[in-house]
Symmetry: C2
Subunit: 210 residues, 2 copies
DNA sequence: ACAAGAAATGAATAGTGATTCACTACTTCA
DNA sequence: TGAAGTAGTGAATCACTATTCATTTCTTGT
């Protein structure tokens, strides 16, 4: 016997894998899934094309993983906003705001996550992603109903509507056609667009004019 | 000179074009854009593959046109529902219901129109399609504000939220993963799903609990 | 240093389907 | 009927990239 995988090698492989993910992420964040090429990613990572395939089954799998990562990041932020002080409506409002503002700040990635056409495996992840948001909101709505600051309703259905209303409102501003028109480093805090989305959503939830 | 396009020929060509559209429509309604093949469509229309290209620039163009047609049909129906008697809220509610119920009745086409990944030109049409709905709703909302049965708000923004909330709520039930589970000839009138979507939407609009 | 194996390489391959185009068949009109 | 022009045909081509794999380079333990 002569070669056995050692800790050092394991680590190096893990690093390579990580680097691939990072570079692929970068590609996608820069111009979406559609135009991301395996060859480009490999070059960017300083690896040969074939090497990608030692770390990932297929391009689709790689992309699905990127999607999962990007998603996790977003969902975590929203979960965080949802975990602050205040009654359910306050927390939900903060969460919706977080969702919308983050999307407006990273429009290409947001668009890829929300609306860009993609391969089946990625689409699957997308459904999961939307469900993750919906679940988060659903829980908060249920809590709100218990605290009775939100009237009785089908929490799952309402959360789906929330996700839809926000996503749709963002598609216009996010879609690549509009890409150039967004001045780069805009803050998007207190964006009136975000305010009116949130007003609609909160009204839909509470049935209370604001 | 010997051959000049005559009325008869013009008509025959128009018919062929129409037939292509019909067959393509059928393909899409049956299994979506992704799996529709130019060759299949040609065969279905009783034409050679190449003939398709005498009538349409490219597959993308053909599909964009189908999308436009299908869209027009749907939008017209919603416009119709919006043109009935009653105050703005009543009419809007009827329109939303029409939108949702029609989608549930023709799930494959609805999914293609709402969510199926597609080529850029088709995606462009999709944006237009969603905007067409939004515009319709927007007008009704504005009317409602004048009639003061709907409180003051950004009508465009709200209409976008409506479209998003409905579309998102339908994606789950329509997505091909669920396809088999829908018993074929279900009525979808008084579907509780539709009711709760509509409740959310109308609350969002009016801020009035129902 | 060497043998045994693992990892990396990247040019060549392959699958997929849209699109082309040289050719045939048809239409028109004198 | 025949010349001129148009429509229809469909097998062959092309474009695009993901993926493969024979070969090379690197690691490891003796």
């Amino acid at each position: 016997m002569a070669y056995r995988e050692t800790e050092k090698m394991r680590k190096r492989k893990a690093e390579a894998r990580q680097r691939i993910l990072t570079c692929a992420y970068q590609c996608v964040a820069q111009s979406g899934f559609r135009s991301a090429r395996v060859t480009t990613i490999a070059a960017l990572a300083g690896l040969a094309t074939g090497t990608i395939y030692r770390h990932f089954e297929s391009k689709e799998d790689l992309f699905a993983e990127i999607f999962r990562l990007a998603t996790q990041r977003e969902v975590d932020k929203v979960a965080e906003a949802l975990a602050t002080e205040g009654d359910a409506t306050v927390r939900l409002e903060a969460a919706l705001r977080q969702f919308a503002e983050r999307a407006l700040r990273g429009p290409v990635m947001a668009w890829s996550l929300i609306a860009e056409p993609a391969d089946p495996k990625v689409e699957e992840e997308r459904l999961a992603y939307r469900k993750a948001y919906a679940r988060l909101f659903e829980t908060a709505i249920s809590e709100g109903m218990e605290e009775s600051c939100i009237p009785q309703q089908d929490a799952r259905q309402s959360s789906t509507c929330l996700v839809g209303a926000i996503a749709e409102s963002l598609v216009g501003p996010l879609s690549p056609a509009q890409a150039g028109s967004q001045p780069e480093a805009k803050h998007h805090n207190n964006d009136p667009l975000v305010d009116s989305i949130i007003r609609f959503c909160m009204q839909g939830l509470t049935g209370t004019r604001r």
